[in-house]
Amino acid sequence: MRIHIEGGRLLDPANNLDAKQDLFIADGKIVSIKKKPDGFDSDLQINAKDKIVLPGLVDLCARLREPGLEYKGTIQTESLAANSSGITSICCPPDTDPVIDTPAIIELIHQRSRDAERTNIYPLGALTKDLNSEHLAEMHILKQAGCVGVSNAYNAIDNAEVLRRAFEYAHSCNLTVFLYAEDHALKNNGVVHEGALSTRLGLPPIPETAETVAICRAILLAEQTQVHLHFCRLSTARGVQLIKAAQAQGLPITADVAICNLLLTEMDIADYNSDCHLQPPLRSERDRSGLIAGINDGTITAVCSDHQPHDVDAKAAPFSLTESGASTIEHLLPLMMHLVNREELKLEKAISLLTSQPANILSIDKGSLEEGKDADVCIFDNEESTSIDKDNLLSIGKNTPFNGWETQGAVSHTLLNGRVVFDRSEFK
């Protein structure tokens, strides 16, 4: 299959490319940029005039719910939703059921991913066996089976000795540790940011220190063990400052943030809106702008969807009894563009946070447009505007906190390995 993407604005931050150029694809690879190869005869021509042509997006954290919670989502359904936002590579955390702590589960996920033929899926292996925070998982075996990093997902490791040893062992396997920084005791079963809103609604609060204390502890242990540490989904401005200081010391530490925490605050919870029940919680406007600042000063280098599709019942209860998480994967790119349109982020920066930089964190050869590379491409139509309607989501999870939002621009095409996996005109 030979594809000619014609007349688009190619934007690839990894190669400092931003120019109106054509893209030529053959046999799943990018064969040429700008110049038509001799004798290239396309089977398919895609008109990208007035559109932006981007590398396929890399989502650093999305739960596809398979295996174990297929009633909330499957690799097939959630990959299609991902494609509609231009995502072609997905990193998924190990808290599936069963947990990703054996090669068999990794093989199962790879098999389902091959069957779906929509995305490249990069599983994270468990840091501790069954995520029990006590015994180390077989990290070397998991790495051989294809996991790209290790994580304990939402399960905090209270025992600092276990955390130290887990860091040391992961380091000796040359695996990055993806840590969700939250102190279990300080969280104290909280469900919303501690502040005037938690007090007013009478909801159990999560103090800022639940995150910052966990970050401090992890930084000190990372300094001691020299492990590559990636902080997942920061929520506090203070946390960003702590990580910035650690990076300034030269420690190999990176961090990401979820799209919801860049666009929403605790105030969006308003009348107990359970679609805004998230983990980490939505925090104050001061925190939100601190996260944006952390992106702009280079402390945070990736934005993920933190996609967590849920069944209807999971969100239909009094706030504290609902499950946390939002269905966000199919709006990741339009929502990032929203931040660009609001002039909080520059376009090139926004794209690098969704492409080359998360690819660097995962050490995968994705997220850029180069000759000879896999033809994972996203074509974004900036003119198309969409309004987000929770009843019309492709994801099984309808739990979006952005219901009713108007976003400017939508993905028109997504290509994986030189094959069109999403064409918006088929969904009208």
Binding site: A196, T199, R200, G202, P205, D271, Y272, A317, P318
Partner: protein
């Protein structure tokens, strides 16, 4: 937050009673006026008026309660409504039925009103968004969020003793952190226009950002009680001693227990209130609880009048309707 939009109907009348927050001063005064008109019913030989005859009210108690449930039941009976008492913590939900399923089952039994007590904040609000349009929901306490009928019966008691709210200084003492009563009282007092609302508690029992609700925070009880007209004591749950919130009941009583000596710091005509049940010797001495300035038992009987008022108002009826038909 749980303000006007959901609590009022299109004509600005009370549809659900979920929180004292966001309701106007005139509406809160109107609740007190209605309660005043119902207060005499309990003293008649026939303690019943047929205002809600033919209506069915379901007491949905997802959390155990004796006194609140009993006063709601009594209020419903005095208005001649039929009342169902459902102790849901021990029936449906433990069998895995969802809250929505429970509600729809009760709707199918043609209930007109749900009185809801639930351990989770926002539960009454959630239920109000789920029920059919003809059903009213009254919050009988949700988590740490609100207990609006308790707050209104306290306002009723204050108004009877102090006539107006304008020049009053009120102190709420104790476990503000876990108290839905305190939150509802703070909103009601500020809306009704008191001069000052203080809360008096150690830092461990003061929720973050509570100043934003319009209160002054005092850690020292003796300073906090100076110039106070109304002292509202809160119940201290014994389980608070198990965590790291307080060292012991003895120490708490020493610092925050209301004794005769402490009461003397407040204004001479200050009244002492408590939502009950009282822990004598923990938050209040027996001498004060049973003393002349205590209005604790009046609060209980006022609770019935307030609940009658709110039930009638959310059903679109008032005692005037009654007098017109008589």
């Amino acid at each position: 937050m749980t303000g006007n939009i959901i609590q009022l109907d299109n004509n600005g009348n009370l549809k659900h009673f979920l929180s004292t927050e966001g309701l106007s001063q005139s509406l809160l005064q109107s609740i007190l006026d209605h309660a005043e008109s119902f207060a005499g019913v309990g003293e008649r030989a026939v303690k019943k008026i047929p205002l809600l005859r033919g209506k069915t009210i379901a007491n949905l108690f997802f959390e155990p309660s004796t006194r609140t449930r009993t006063t709601f039941e009594l209020a419903a009976k005095r208005l001649s409504a039929d009342i169902l008492n459902l102790n849901i913590s021990t029936s449906a939900t433990s069998k895995g039925e969802t809250l929505s399923d429970t509600l729809h089952t009760l709707e199918a039994m043609h209930c007109d009103m749900f009185v809801v007590r639930h351990a989770n904040s926002g539960a009454a609000h959630y239920i109000a968004t789920q029920v059919a349009p003809h059903i009213s929901v009254i919050n009988a306490g949700d988590g740490r969020h609100a207990h609006p009928t308790q707050a209104m019966l306290d306002m009723f008691t204050i108004r009877r003793h102090k006539k107006s709210f304008e020049n009053l200084r009120v102190a709420i003492v104790g476990d503000i952190l876990h108290s839905r009563v305190a939150r509802s009282e703070i909103h009601a007092l500020n809306t009704l226009g008191v001069l000052e609302t203080r809360i008096i508690a150690p830092h461990t029992l003061v929720p973050k950002g509570v100043e934003d609700l319009g209160v002054q925070v005092y850690n020292d009880m003796d300073t906090g009680l100076e110039g106070i007209d109304v002292i509202m004591m809160l119940r201290l749950q014994k389980e608070r001693m198990r965590g790291a919130l307080l060292p012991s009941e003895q120490e708490y009583f020493q610092r925050y227990g209301l004794t005769s000596e402490r009461l003397a710091i407040a204004k001479p005509d200050a009244i002492v209130m408590h939502p009950g049940p009282i822990n004598r010797g923990v938050e209040i001495s027996s001498e004060v609880a049973d003393g002349e300035q205590s209005v604790i038992l009046q609060q209980v009987s006022h609770g019935i009048a307030i609940r009658m008022a709110v039930m009638a108002m959310t059903m679109g009826r008032s005692n005037d309707d009654m007098e017109n038909t008589e």
